[in-house]
Structures are given as structure tokens and as C-alpha cells.
Amino acid sequence: MKQSKYISLIAMLCVAFSIKAQVSTFGANYVISIPMGNTADFIGLPSYRGASFEYTYVPDDHFGVHVEGGWNNFYEKKEKTTYEYKTLAVTGIQYRYVESVPIFVGANYFILPEAIVKPYVAFGLGLIYTEKRNDVGLYTLSSDSWQFGLKPELGVAINLTENTFFKLSAKYYQAFKTNDLDAQSFLGVNMGLAFMVQ
């Protein structure tokens, strides 16, 4: 019963607003990123420093294409610890940084384009510039690379006014290994506003 109540609420919202066909939106998001894979091995803490910007063109009710750019700063201080490598032992505080700048193009599919709460799925391809840095004592070990990346995305766009939206989405970024850097991945939780530009 409870479930059907929610369904009827969503159905009511569906008829309340309708999105115009052939629209473009510009959006800015605050991003919290959760490191995964190799990125998580290097930095275990989530990043609260990130932003993304999106331009989405929706020629059809259901389908859209988008361009996205953003950045995410991961940081973790590793307290004074001794790291051993063969006969070598190094003790110091480590300041670890990963800076990730994704630049993507992709496609969106809006499941309920007529609803106020518009769930969507998206998929993107692009490049991710990653700089990985480890400051130990007065020394810095760093490597950086442009990596090819994939991005599946799941989200909702909620109408605040007829041409303003609140957007909440989860984007999983996978950057592939290059000669300079191992594969990186993280999950970006995006929240922000988008507004129609035409």
C-alpha cells in the first residue's frame, strides 16, 4: 500500500509540469567524491572539494547529449609512519593529493521527461587529467597523466520552477591506465542547479 501511495504521488507530479521539447540547460554542481580502486589505496578519504559544470542539449523529450567539465581534489594526511622498502626505511608525515579533472561528452536518457522529478541515466566518454602527488618531508613525488575515461551516471532533475532544476546524480568515473599512471576511479555525488538557456 505504501508503495502505491508513492507511485500515485509521482504520477501526480508527472502531470503537473512538462518539459519543453528542444531545450538546453546549463548546470553547476558541488561534488563529493568517494575514491575507489587504486585511488582509494592511495587516499582513503572522500573529497569534499569538487565541482562540475554541464551543458545538456535535449532535442527530444527522452534523449539528450551533454558536455561536462569538472575537478575533484582528494587529500589525505598520513600521520608519521615508517614505510619500508627492502633495506630502506623512511619515516615522515605524508601529504597525499590526487587532483582529477574530467572532461566528458555523453548521452542522457530521461525516463520520465514529463514529470517534475525526472530520473535519468547517462553515459559519457572522455579524458581525465589526473595529478597524483605525495609530499614527504621536503620532497615531492608526483606523476600526472591524461587518461581515457568512461562515466556511467544515474540521476534526477527536479523542477524548481518551469526552467530551473535541482539536480542530484551519481557518476562513476573510470580512468584507464597509462604509462605514467595506474588506473584511477571514483564515485562523484553531484548536487547542483541547472537552468534552461533556450
Binding site: 558541488y30 569534499y48 615522515g92 593529493y97 621536503l138 547542483g192
Partner: protein
């Protein structure tokens, strides 16, 4: 500017500042580094006696003529005392350098002053005659528009080398069987630097358990 756009701009600008902010080391001790290494096949367990010199050698650029400088006793004595107490605590016996010690420990220090010099890209700039600068070409003095600024910081390293004099017969070089390098900022008052040197030397021994008897 309408409301959604200004809200969006606010969000974007906030995110921009949040994204650029980074944490950095706060205390000079946060930058202290202790590195140790040892010769794998050296039988530390069979050695029992050590010897220490009276002073700590200062490695500097000014020693071209072959003269030897020494570290200030305020730091040199701290370094020697700390090495001695750690070696004794590890079960070694100190002997005179002429009493055929199993190992001789040679400490040295070095100091570097790093200078940063910031100046505008138009450090020495020059221009061709044009309608703006009639009358010929010319140039600016450095810092004419943006005065250059400088800043310096000092870094210091302590090197502790444990040598094996019994294997020195074949050449003039002494084999180094254990080495510790301590590196950090040489900033702050004497007591604070002495404290950091002591802590780091203790750490060097702590992470070298093979030196324990």
C-alpha cells in the same frame, strides 16, 4: 541578473574556492624526514664495540681548499650525545677509536639556503618604436612595474654513517654498513631544532631494529 543565475554563480564561485583550497604542513616538524638503509649481508649481531669522533663535520661549499669545518657544538654535541645514548641503549660498548672498534660512526651535517626570487615577466623588457613609443626603442629596469620580492628558507641534513674499519684494508674507502639521513627545515630556535634532531635520531635507531643486541 535573475535569481537562478545569481544562485548558480554563487554556487560556482563557492565550489571554485573550495576546490582550490589545500591543506599544507603547519609545523616545521611536519616536514622532518628520517631515512635509514643498511648493508644486507653485514652481521650486525656479531659486532659489539663502536667509536664516535669528538665533533660533527660540516659539509659546505666553502671547503674547496681542503680545510674541514665543524658543526656548531650546540648541534654537534646534541647529535653525538643522541647517537651515543641510542647505541648504548641498544647494547653496544663504546671504545676509543684506537682500541680497534667493530664500527666507527661518522656523523656529518649540511645546510642549504634556498632562495626564491619572484619577478614580473617584464623583468627586462624592451620595445620597438611605435605610435605608442615614438622616438625609438627602449627598455625598462627590472621591477619597474612590479618590484621583485625574495624569500629564503634553510634546510638541514644530518648524515650518520656507520663504517666497518675491518674491511678498509683493500682501499682508502671505508664500507658503510648503516646510514641514516635526517632532513628538515632549519628554522626555529636552537632548543626546538635540538629537540627535533634528537627525536629524529631516536627514530633512525627505532626503525633499525637490526642494531639491537
Amino acid at each position: 541578473m535573475n535569481k537562478p543565475i545569481s544562485l548558480l554563480m554563487f554556487l560556482a564561485v563557492s565550489a571554485l574556492f573550495a576546490g582550490c583550497y589545500r591543506d599544507e604542513p603547519v609545523y616545521t616538524s611536519d616536514l622532518d624526514l628520517v631515512v635509514t638503509n643498511y648493508q644486507k649481508d653485514f652481521a650486525f649481531s656479531t659486532k659489539t664495540t663502536f667509536s664516535l669522533p669528538d665533533s660533527v663535520v660540516l659539509i659546505s661549499d666553502e671547503n674547496y681548499d681542503g680545510t674541514i669545518s665543524y658543526a656548531k657544538p650546540t648541534y654537534g654535541n646534541t647529535i653525538l650525545a643522541e647517537i651515543r645514548s641510542n647505541m648504548l641503549a641498544n647494547g653496544w660498548v663504546e671504545v676509543d677509536k684506537n682500541a680497534n672498534p667493530d664500527v666507527i660512526i661518522l656523523p656529518s651535517v649540511s645546510q642549504t639556503t634556498n632562495v626564491f626570487y619572484y619577478y614580473s615577466y617584464s623583468y627586462w623588457s624592451w620595445y620597438y618604436p611605435s605610435s605608442y613609443y615614438p622616438g625609438g626603442w627602449g627598455w625598462y629596469y627590472p621591477g619597474y612595474y612590479f618590484p621583485p620580492t625574495t624569500s629564503t628558507y634553510k634546510t638541514g641534513s644530518v648524515f650518520i654513517q656507520m663504517t666497518d674499519p675491518s674491511n678498509a684494508a683493500t682501499s682508502d674507502q671505508l664500507p658503510v654498513v648503516w646510514t641514516a639521513v635526517i632532513n628538515g627545515l632549519l628554522e626555529g630556535n636552537t632548543t626546538s631544532i635540538q629537540g627535533r634532531i634528537s627525536t629524529s635520531i631516536d627514530q633512525a635507531f627505532k626503525q633499525s631494529s637490526y642494531l639491537k643486541k
